[in-house]
Assembly symmetry: C2
Homo-oligomer: 257 residues x 2
């Protein structure tokens, strides 16, 4: 199995690379930084830069059996435009560039987030982002829509979920399939960014689940969605949150007697 | 790994049993009929009969690492009350009886259905079914609510999804977890029941996905949800439909440019 993975140097991506290597896969990582372990080839890639993305997809040696779009920036003040560029437009541009390098029946897995769960409620803004043709329009979009770092992050992940759904029919026509995962808080190097950005609500959710998730718990699901075992799952977002969403839904709808 | 499985004789359940045996698991099947293959022990069980359920859970030798509630009746005229009894109340009663026989960190997987997707829209009727204390109240409920076979089937699966969500917090407190799967049309011995019941809409959906799902495609996801690889997924319903739901959602929200 040959796998293309964005963001393999740290966090969830590094755990995905480790699990894939343990299964004997050949892993090509696309990252700004060189992964220390578990990667057969590193292609330096800046997902916030269209020229870098074009060079990276050009340099990639397929065909790949899976494409895992995992790289992303956390909510951090001052990075609003870059978050939208990297997490959404860069992901989409990279994926489009990789389509010709995928094997028949290849799986695409996108890392979204529970922070993108409100994508339907924000559908007009999501569509506006999806309709931006290129990255150079992002700063004006951020200014016009008064988007702060938390909103930029949430919006980027909402758009990843919507893209995954919207792309289903085209993927089927290409004999590919695409799904996403939506982790809640995960113990990685960027957990503090999320705790700072989302505040007490995030702390309460973690307490209710018992703890934050672990990178390897998310990675196991990503590997499953990249594998033939999940072959009839298409266009779905899999929430991996230790039960937080279900408990909130149960409260909201008063499901428990 | 020791697994308790309802409905292991045919269809998706038989495929689950085969996959579990291939992994070296010990499988106890609870079914009306004796499974021909891949089962270490068969306990004759009628999920429409509380006495049979009580005897079966009493006879079960745990502890089990997974409980897979897969048995169910398809929509078939005249079976309205039995569908609600077996697919929902029997499932819940059996599960309650098995809780004491599960290992720490055991996983419960319930087979729901895409036919249960409208559970939120029908939440009042779902709650009314969930509030029925016992099976003997089902016939009066069916009559009072004028429930036909298709509605009985859909309602039973809506309630399974709601039960899975509602049970999350209790499961966490017990160090267990529970999820469900929602297959669309699957090529099994009861596919014709679904095609007759759901008519042209089902045919169109199958055509758009390219074909119906296969039992082993659903079984692979059930086995994943029963396994430690999915350990941080709790209270979720995983849709396995070859992209049908995503394509319908994309149409409805006009997600494609």
């Amino acid at each position: 199995m040959r796998v293309a993975l964005t963001g393999g140097a740290t966090g969830i991506g590094a755990s995905v690379a480790a699990k894939l290597k343990a299964r004997g896969a050949h892993v090509t990582a696309f990252d700004l930084n060189e992964p220390q372990d578990n990667v057969d080839r590193w292609i330096e890639t800046d997902l916030g830069n269209p020229a870098s993305i074009a060079a990276a997809t050009e340099a990639a040696e397929g065909p790949f059996d899976a494409l895992i779009n995992n790289a992303g920036l956390p909510p951090r003040d001052g990075l609003e435009a870059l978050i939208l560029k990297v997490n959404y437009i860069g992901l989409r541009t990279f994926m489009d560039g990789m389509l010709a390098r995928l094997s028949p029946n290849a799986a695409i897995v996108n890392t979204a987030s529970r922070a993108g769960a409100m994508w339907r409620d924000n559908i007009e803004q999501v569509k506006a982002l999806m309709a931006l043709g290129s990255m150079d329009k992002v700063p004006a979009f951020v200014a016009a829509q008064d988007i702060d770092a938390v909103r930029a992050y949430n919006l980027s992940k909402e758009a990843v979920i919507a893209l995954t759904i919207a792309g289903t029919e085209d993927m089927i026509a290409r004999k590919l399939r695409m799904n996403s995962v939506s982790p809640a808080a995960v113990s990685t190097g960027i957990l503090d960014d999320f705790l700072n950005a989302f505040g007490e609500r995030a702390q309460k959710a973690i307490a209710r689940a018992g703890r934050a998730g672990e990178a390897d718990e998310i990675a196991d699901v990503i590997v499953f969605l990249a594998s033939p075992e999940s072959r009839w799952i298409k266009g779905q977002d899999i929430v991996i949150d230790g039960g937080i969403s279900a408990m909130l839904t149960s409260d909201m709808l008063a499901l428990r007697p």
